[in-house]
């Protein structure tokens, strides 16, 4: 009797865990590239479907779109479309920029943050920007909303740069920033308002999913097993990658089994070892390349044939790819986008037109380009991203090699 009641209590205690799981998916509504709606937020997490056919089609087309501008400066390239007139912001002299950052909690954001600061130095040198005040929200929506409101209340910002932590939660705060009448630049993850002067982002998660899943399914047979290693649930840019890949795997009859790893190589290695113990694994798909090396080492340690694999343009993966000579590709979520917001502000203060939705190139690294990218990033640490796009900035390459962050 008492034993039963203990079990009942234990189960009841476990219920909040379920609720917590629900919460983590709640704030991250489908990322719309400015046009869609956030209707997905209303559905329950269990039935939540991140797949969005319209967005999938758009991004599928953008994969082969032509980009305006100089290919040597991909961080300034964009897909032709509506432009914002910024003549009202035209003003001479140096301006103060306020940056509300979601976090620098992963190697991708850290690499971008380094690049952004070096870009800042360049623009301070040319007298465009006087200083940049940054507040880091440490992956917390509430903190970031408070950060933005702090900037507004302080009233000393000549321009806002916002990298939103999540889509729905930050929408109103971004609108409040817009109401100050100062230029607002949003980049990486989006918000559900088009009040910003420009919204900068690479093509998107669906394009990533299409590139990678197509690559794997072209090389594998129907019925082959692919292990999908995912960082965490509920982040739109990551969920879109998996939504697109899952659709393609299902269409091609490839058995894809997905796991959340938190990018922890210990977990990744355990997962792959367990999967190899149950049968052959022909392919490995990742929604971010962090930890790719551990996945390959699990194959090596088990003495199995190395898989066909998609990672990311992180140096650790590119190096391992080269060493092992596997059949692989590295999708890219263009890290150079961290430069673009400050360069956009330079144009805004000059009163030049800029794209309302600034879609940056997002080109995967294929086998024939691998040597070139390794060559260009020699001496960079394992968490560095090959397409960081800061080769012409001051401090290159030491700042990135030593990962010096302010």
């Amino acid at each position: 009797m008492r034993n039963n009641s203990v079990r009942a209590i234990a189960l009841a205690a476990a219920l909040p865990l379920v609720a917590l799981t629900a919460c983590t998916t709640e704030p991250s509504v489908t990322q719309t590239t400015g046009t869609g709606t956030g209707s997905a937020a209303a559905s329950s997490p269990a039935s939540k479907d991140w797949f969005d056919q319209a967005l999938y089609d758009t991004q599928n087309q953008q994969r082969s779109a032509t980009f305006e501008g100089n290919p040597e400066q991909p961080y300034l390239q964009y897909i032709a479309g509506p432009m914002t007139d910024t003549s009202k912001f035209k003003s001479p002299g140096a301006h103060k920029v306020c940056f509300a950052n979601a976090s620098i909690s992963n190697p991708w954001r850290q690499t971008g943050w380094i690049t952004m600061n070096q870009q800042l130095k360049a623009l301070q040198g040319t007298g465009v920007i006087s200083e940049m005040e940054t507040r880091d929200a440490k992956d917390n929506d509430n903190t970031q909303i408070a950060d933005i409101d702090y900037f507004i209340a302080e009233g000393k910002c000549d321009a806002f740069v916002i990298s939103p932590n999540s889509t729905a939660a930050l929408t109103q705060a971004v609108e409040r920033a817009c109401q100050t009448g100062k230029p607002v630049v949003v980049f990486d993850r989006g918000v559900e308002t088009d009040c910003a002067t420009t919204f900068i982002h690479p093509i998107g998660g669906f394009a990533w999913g299409i590139d990678t899943a197509t690559f794997l399914s072209e090389r594998l047979q129907s019925g082959d097993k692919v292990v999908a290693l995912r960082i965490l649930p509920g982040v739109d840019v990551l969920e879109h990658r998996w939504a697109a890949a899952k659709k393609i795997f299902e269409e091609k009859g490839i058995q894809a089994k997905d796991y959340f790893t938190g990018a922890d190589p210990t977990k990744i290695k355990n997962i792959i070892s367990d999967e190899l113990a149950t049968g052959d694994v022909k392919g490995v798909w990742m929604d971010a390349g962090d930890g790719a090396v551990a996945a390959l080492e699990a194959f090596e340690d088990a003495g199995k044939k190395l898989p066909v694999m998609t990672g990311e343009d992180e140096m650790s993966f590119l190096t391992k790819w080269k060493q092992t000579g596997i059949d692989a590709m590295a999708p890219v979520y263009s890290n150079f986008q961290w430069r673009t917001p400050l360069l956009a502000l330079e144009k805004i203060f000059k009163g030049e037109q800029i794209p309302t939705e600034w879609v940056l190139p997002q080109k995967p690294i294929l086998a024939n380009e691998l040597d070139d990218w390794l060559q260009r990033n020699q001496g960079m640490p394992s968490g560095h991203y090959a397409k960081f796009g800061g080769e012409d900035l001051p401090g290159y390459p030491e700042v990135w090699q030593k990962r010096q962050m302010p």
Binding site: R7, P265, D301, G383
Partner: protein, 370 residues
Amino acid sequence: MSTALNSERSAILKQNRASRSERLLRAVRTPGGAVFVLLIGLLAAIIVLNPSFGEPSSFIRFVGRTAPIAIAAIGQYFVIVGGEFDLSMGSVVTMQVIVAGNLIRQDDSKVIPVLVLMLVLGAFVGLVNGLITTLLQVPSFIVTLGMMLALLGLVLYWTGGAAQGNPADSFRQIGRGGIQDVPVLDVIPYPVIILTAVAVAGFVLMRRPYGRMLIAVGDNPEAAALAGSRVWWVRTRAFMMSSLSATVAGILLVGYAGVHPSVGRGYEFTAITAVVLGGVVLGGGRGWVLSAAAGAFALESLFTLLNFMGLQATWRDTVQGAIIIIAVAAASRSWQRKRKGASSAAHDEQHQLAAAPTPAEGTEQGGERV
């Protein structure tokens, strides 16, 4: 053990004189013994789902990869049984992983000096934790939480979030390699050997005066102090062993998984869960060191079982959490039952005087139960 009441002493004596099988049965009914039953059950379930897991070569690899968390659990056991917590364990693992990655690089000649440095660092962190807890009287929960954050911040500052890369392969062999071409097993991973050494050392230590003292301190520090033990030094050494075991776990993980700032994340909670699952009582004074290691194996088997069951990824954490809560709830229930059983046994005349008491076993039992 020192708190055993006079009225219970004769019952204990009788229990120790019971036959070997009776003693085994009794041990299995304690939470510290039940975890072994749970472990066997989980392993059996895995083998039913996936028979190839039961092959010696697969199984020994599983033991190898579980070794780091089992070693961490053994380290955490010392602190918990002494009545404290060590939340800094995961950060120590992370720090050591980064130290190895950034200092050794590809230079084989640096392997030994850096290894020594890591052990010194580990002992130092434990010393600081222990001294602040015992001499400054700050609750260990806060001290080690602060240490956890301080070390994580230090790692971030030092590395900018990404390590330079994996250290030389000779260093990684400790966690990744093994003795090859062994009959039946195929390979004996080095982590298995290291785990065995740590487990034997822990087992022996808990039977020596220090181990007795640690349990007494965890059970009732005032009584232990009055009995003449230097409580602060007993506990500080427990913290040092915890940090050192985290260091050993870190060394193995560098080999097994490679260098990454996320290695070691959540290790303190996995280790504490393993210790509690092994029937060690939070607050100290009760529990068996090898049960803590078995708790780690049970936990890892549970994760593997859920992998093999093909549970949906989004659900997995919830199921894990619920199972852990149920298991620990069941364990605490059987401690309560055991306590009642112990006092009633004093008046139970049915025990046979079968074997002469061996002092070592007698004291171990006394320390373990009450």
